[in-house]
């Protein structure tokens, strides 16, 4: 299938991965949990970083996967208990939104279009949000089919140009609407749902509090539905 500008991107930071793998090793343990494509981060990239950092074994889903990784010099196992702290390895927040290491995965959407709203104008299905004043909203790629949970509508923020802005109205299957709160954004501008180094870095803690889902499943499922990219 062709790549699609309509899908969110999971941007994997190699430098964050190197640092977090080192931090995870320093904290102790021998076996890292790389099941389900390394929690949606990409098993080969994370496996290589784990090997370089000196992690002895990685846990994967199947024997065939372990054999493929063996060709890369990565020692993978299939039925042992992982004992390395996954929160440190992947740079995930705790319940209070504290990050002990930098997030490896940043989930990014893009602005499809913007629109001026008048007071009283409703947004998205069920009209669960109405503008209270004149504002500008952005239609942004990413919806519940990509793991941006439907319950996040009216309950979470995204980062646009370094500032957190609220998701307003229902999250749809492929898009959601963000209130730019009087600011503008160009078509194609990037939006960060979680991860990175800005205010959205620990946003998965908020997602978990709103949805009742674990941070682990939130990152694994969004990571597996997004288009993956790598950055230095």
């Amino acid at each position: 299938m062709l790549s699609s500008s309509a899908l969110p991107r999971a941007v994997i930071s190699r430098s964050a991965l190197t640092a977090s793998a080192a931090a995870a090793v320093a904290a102790g343990g021998r076996i890292a949990d790389l099941r389900r494509d390394a929690w949606g981060h990409g098993v080969l990239t994370v496996g290589q970083a784990a090997r370089v950092a000196g992690i002895a074994h990685v846990l994967v889903d199947s024997q065939s996967e372990a054999e493929a990784l063996a060709l890369e010099g990565i020692d993978a196992v299939v039925d042992e208990e992982p004992d390395i702290d996954s929160t440190l390895l992947y740079g995930l927040p705790d319940a209070d939104g504290v990050l002990a290491s930098r997030p490896i995965l940043r989930l990014a959407g893009r602005v499809l279009s913007t629109k001026r709203l008048k007071p009283g104008d409703a947004v998205s299905y069920g009209y669960t949000h109405r503008a209270s004043e004149h504002t500008v909203v952005a239609l942004v790629t990413g919806g519940y089919a990509q793991g941006i949970v439907r319950a996040l509508g009216n309950n979470a923020h995204v980062e646009v140009d370094g500032v957190e802005r609220p998701i307003i109205g229902r999250v749809a299957m492929d898009v959601c609407v963000v209130d730019l709160q009087g600011h503008e954004a160009a078509v194609g501008s990037e939006v960060t749902y979680f991860g990175g180094i800005g205010p959205a870095a620990p946003a998965l803690a908020r997602w978990s509090a709103v949805t009742g889902l674990t941070v682990a499943e939130l990152v694994a499922v969004t990571g597996s539905h997004a288009q993956r990219e790598w950055e230095a």
Binding site: M1, L2, S3, S4, S5, A6, L7, R35, R36, W39, G40, D61, S62, V78, L112, S113, K115, L117, D121, A122, V123, S124, Y125, G126, Y127, V137, L139, T141, Y144, A145, G147, V149, R150, A151, A172, M173, D174, V175, V177, V187, T211, G212, L213, T214, A216, E217, A220, V221, S224, H225
Partner: protein, 345 residues
Amino acid sequence: MSRPELHLSSEQFIANIEAVRTRISPSVLMLVMKDDAYGHGITWAVETAQRAGVDWFGSYDVAGGVEIRRILQRPADVFAWATSTDSEIEEALMQRIDLGVGTAEYLSRVISRATVLGIRARVHLKIDTGLHRNGVLFEDWPATIDAVREAEEAGALELVGVWSHLAEASDAEDDDAQQVFLRAITTAAESGPTPQWQHLTASAASWWRPELRGTLSRIGAFCYGIRSADGPELEGVLPVAELTATVIDVVDEGAVISIGSFDGLPSTLAGMPVGTERGTRIVASIDLTTSLVEGGGLEVGDRVWIFGTGAHGEATATTLAERIDTVGEEILTRLTARVRRVASD
């Protein structure tokens, strides 16, 4: 390790499509295939729908439209409505994919790419009838129609459709939206041919509000047998997909099955019923890669139905969704690629 499986009934899919078509006639069905055919798998869905005689397909993005075109064995109309990049517009034009256009900015890029390639773009122009997402506001509609007609004269474009999305907040608000929709069509018809394809309604409104239907109805959910959350059952329509997992271990507390929250089954569904050959059981917990089904009597290798038609005591996807205040579509589309899609008849 055994993977969870999503079993797809081709027979039921065809039956649902026929029930929907009968219900909405003379409005024509556009079968919506976004997000890998609502998680069912686009190859199977297109091949099966073509057997059912479907000749209008809706994709959210251009990539999905191109994929539909690749799978199709005979001519059909394909519509892609996401605001797309210039290279995607060119791909769509070359593959004869109709484009949904909802902003002046996108319209100008479509005209520009069509002019460069010398291919007349088939455009469905979107009017914003209240959602404030994609779509031209009514105050900007006359000027946008002028731009469309000018591009038609230049040979860059053909206005083949007008469309919108309903909010489904209330019948009265949807009626208001229809008034805006009809005024937009009237305005367009004043300066040229009346666009042939008029589509406002998706599954629920197409089924329950015949007076809102246009010449075309964009329907995904009901064709896959996903009823609306908090909505009634649908005559002649049943779920197409059933999700199963396998018992991989038996412990004191019950049976461990091969599906977990990492496969897209929300952990908040713990406490849900599942079906087995021995009747309904309760899921005590949903862990990362496995779940625990309470009670004895299950053996390693047994199949457990997570959702389906209810034949083994399981709930439907929509009934599960209602437990966590969402819609059946989220339960289906959240499933990851690790869930193997298996066509069963």
